[in-house]
């Protein structure tokens, strides 16, 4: 796909594939797609991670001509896809431990290099716990060595597999089972947490990007773009978790989109440590619109509205919008590809 396709209808992406030329449609509309993560797995209804992984893997398979090996961290994705003796994976797939997926992926890539099999590419994947917390040392090592691995973090902002505990990617004020909605400052603490994409950029690796499951064309194109580079690459995908976030299973995609449109989750690309593109916010919404449908933020609205906390979250979103130029992306980077001409 030479041009990036974007849809700017606010509130709906229902325009779908049918207006696109055949070769620009999502891999999922192709009957010969790889189905790398196939049906029958045990993910929850409305799971954002299952959706994200399915698109990431199929896009990576398309980009590599099916020459792909995957390494998975322990977590929901591993558990729901491989209850012995069944497996949902139709790619070579290796799970070792919770905290070592990036290093295992490095080992696979190194072995392929030593064996002269550089036609085969490597994709590592894990949740936010396996990526930004327990696996972070291995991830940084993989980055700084420049091992030929695309590592994908499916970020659902907590340890959902173990019962919704707080991770280093849990946002402030969010209720988890270890940051409960009790006391004068309910939910997760302000001023903690980290931005794994920005830290990845500090390694000056060839490619870092963020994406969400609200824009699958964008997700696919970033996977494809990442596969165009060699060396260490990082893709951070926001994947809402209906169970952990307390959202309607039918609203997973909408909640992901509101995370972007509120400015809480900036969607951007970076090469060699420099931001090269951002997805502009077309229809800005106050953070409250994102927070309200999620039970993990209910304590901000009941029994009374916590305007102080909501304002702090809004300030964080405003900072993202300013920092990444999310409202004036076109001034900085030109019009998105596929629009105008």
């Amino acid at each position: 796909m030479s041009e990036r396709v974007r849809f700017f209808q606010t509130g709906s992406f229902a325009v779908g594939n049918r207006l696109l030329p055949l070769d620009a449609r999502t891999v999922q509309s192709d009957p010969s797609r790889s189905n790398s993560l196939t049906s029958g797995h045990r993910a929850c209804r409305g799971c954002g991670e299952a959706l994200g992984a399915r698109y990431v893997l199929d896009a990576a398979m398309r980009a590599t001509g099916g020459r792909l090996v995957t390494v998975n961290a322990t977590g929901c994705l591993e558990v729901f896809s491989t209850p012995y003796p069944e497996t949902s994976w139709r790619v070579p797939w290796l799970h070792s431990l919770f905290g070592n997926a990036p290093a295992v992926a490095s080992g696979v890539a190194t072995a392929l290099k030593a064996r002269g099999r550089t036609d085969i590419r490597v994709l590592g994947q894990g949740g936010d716990g396996g990526t930004v917390d327990i696996g972070f040392g291995c991830l940084s090592g993989m980055f700084e060595r420049g091992d030929d691995v695309l590592f994908v973090c499916y970020d659902n902002q907590g340890y959902m597999n173990t019962g919704v505990q707080r991770s280093g990617a849990t946002p402030p004020a969010a209720r988890t089972s270890t940051t409960q909605a009790v006391g004068p400052e309910p939910g997760n603490v302000f001023g903690q947490g980290k931005s794994a994409p920005l830290i990845a950029m500090a390694h000056e690796i060839p490619y870092v990007a963020t994406a969400t499951i609200a824009d699958l064309h964008d997700l696919e194109s970033k996977v494809e773009r990442a596969m165009g580079f060699h060396g260490a690459r990082y893709l951070h995908v926001l994947v809402p978790c209906p169970l952990g976030w307390g959202g309607d299973a039918a609203q997973t995609v909408r909640i992901a989109r509101l995370a972007v449109e509120s400015g809480l989750f900036p969607v951007f690309e970076a090469e060699r440590g420099e931001v090269t593109a951002v997805s502009p916010i077309r229809h800005r919404v106050p953070v409250e619109e994102y927070l309200r449908p999620q039970a993990r933020f209910r304590h901000l609205f009941e029994p009374e509205r916590r305007a102080d906390v909501i304002d702090r979250l809004q300030a964080g979103a405003d900072r993202n919008i300013e920092r990444f130029g999310l409202l004036r992306a076109e001034e900085r980077f030109g019009p998105p590809l596929g629009e105008g001409s």
Partner: protein, 391 residues
């Protein structure tokens, strides 16, 4: 051909002749000379077809080896002490996945108190990790056991740890016949993985296994380890035919045949023990030595056969289980339930084990005065000083 060579260097040269394809390592004394030499062999091109990865931790070292082995490469790493503990989670994973990784452990004490010198606390702490554990008595054995280890690991699809005493062996220069390339190639065929990550035949490795099959997985691992005992003896005979020198893969008895007392030990202390036994034999004392090369799997039958009718067993241990006593002795007691069993804890944290002290302990054993658990050369002065520290 014999050459005067440092133990670490001999092991590195031997590992190189085994044609590993991925070597990953994180530095820790006293393992460093081994991986330094290997990194130079790879970088200079002398070890072709091999990638050397400088990782950020021992946990990553074992994890890279896991990924490399699953992707069909012959993988090697080396560590010691805290490093072995830091990779503990990955050790169980490598054996559970049946990945034939070979690792050198340059045995060293575990802190606190921090101590870089030799004992066996590190490897003993991982005795139940599912890895085969072989202990080298000298640097020739250290080199040769690596060749055996790669062959055994790959035949049985299980990881093997070759333990050599830190500094005492790794930094000692002695005459070693480093296995030649042609002979090594005859003994060790190219790696044929049991299963491999391959886009042409996708497999899922590392699936979640519940109560319905977990016991069976563990049972089969046990059966595989026991099968290694017989296979090791066969491979040792083949090794001798190939390299024209003996290799003791399970146990090495010394003057045990008519011994009333047998001293059991692992590693480099066996040399001192044999000298001590020679002294005692010269004085008419019926004593022998049994070296254990294989500690996992535990060679029960070979031990029984070697110890024969000796009525007393003294286990010299360079590690121990606080609150219990001897680690090796506990296993031996199960294999030899009808013998008088003593544990002598010696050489912790690098303390020299001397012939004088050994003679004294064995004299006590023969006069019926050796306690079931003894700490050799315990410094009473230091113990009193510790008691006097105000609380």
């Amino acid at each position: 051909m014999l050459s005067q060579i440092e133990g670490s260097r001999a092991v590195a040269e031997t590992v190189a002749r085994c044609r590993p394809q991925v070597i990953c390592a994180y530095p820790i004394s006293p393992q460093t000379h081994i991986v330094e030499a290997l990194s130079a062999l790879v970088k200079s091109g002398r070890l072709a077809g091999c990638e050397f990865v400088n990782v950020e931790s021992e946990f990553a070292a074992m994890s890279v080896a896991i990924g490399a082995s699953a992707a069909g490469a012959r993988a090697y790493t080396a560590t010691a002490s805290q490093g072995l503990l830091y990779m503990a989670e990955a050790l169980y994973n490598a054996s559970g996945l049946g990945l034939p990784i070979v690792m050198t452990v340059a045995n060293r004490a575990i802190g606190a108190p921090i101590n870089i010198w030799n004992d066996h606390s590190d490897a003993m702490s991982q005795r139940d990790s599912g890895w085969i554990q072989l202990y080298a008595e000298d640097n020739q054995a250290a080199a040769d056991l690596h060749v055996l280890a790669f062959r055994l690991a790959e035949e049985l699809s299980t990881p093997v740890m070759v333990c050599m005493d830190g500094f005492v062996l790794t930094h000692a220069v002695e005459a070693v016949d480093v296995p030649g390339q042609a002979a090594a190639d005859r003994f060790l065929p190219p790696f044929q993985p049991r299963q491999v990550l391959d886009p042409d035949a996708p497999v899922t490795i590392g699936a979640m296994v519940g109560p319905e099959a977990f016991t069976e997985v563990r049972y089969l691992a046990h059966v595989n380890q026991l099968a290694a005992l017989a296979r090791m003896s066969e491979l040792a005979r083949e090794f001798t035919a190939t390299f024209d020198r003996p290799l003791a893969p399970l146990v090495s008895p010394y003057r045990c045949a008519d011994a009333e007392t047998v001293v059991v030990a692992l590693g480099s202390v066996l040399g001192t023990l044999k000298d001590t036994v020679d002294d005692l034999r010269a004085a008419g004392v019926p004593v022998g030595v049994l070296g254990l090369t294989a500690f996992r799997p535990f060679p029960v039958e070979a031990i029984r056969a070697a110890i024969g009718p000796a009525r007393r067993v003294v286990v010299l241990e360079r590690a121990f289980a606080a609150g219990v006593g001897g680690i090796v002795a506990a296993d031996l007691a199960g294999a030899l339930p009808d013998r008088e069993m003593h544990t002598v804890v010696a050489g912790l944290g690098g303390r020299p084990v001397t012939r004088d002290s050994l003679r004294e302990a064995l004299a006590a054993a023969f006069s019926g005065k050796l306690a079931p658990l003894t700490f050799l050369d315990l410094d009473e002065r230091l113990l009193r000083a510790a008691e006097e520290v105000p609380s």
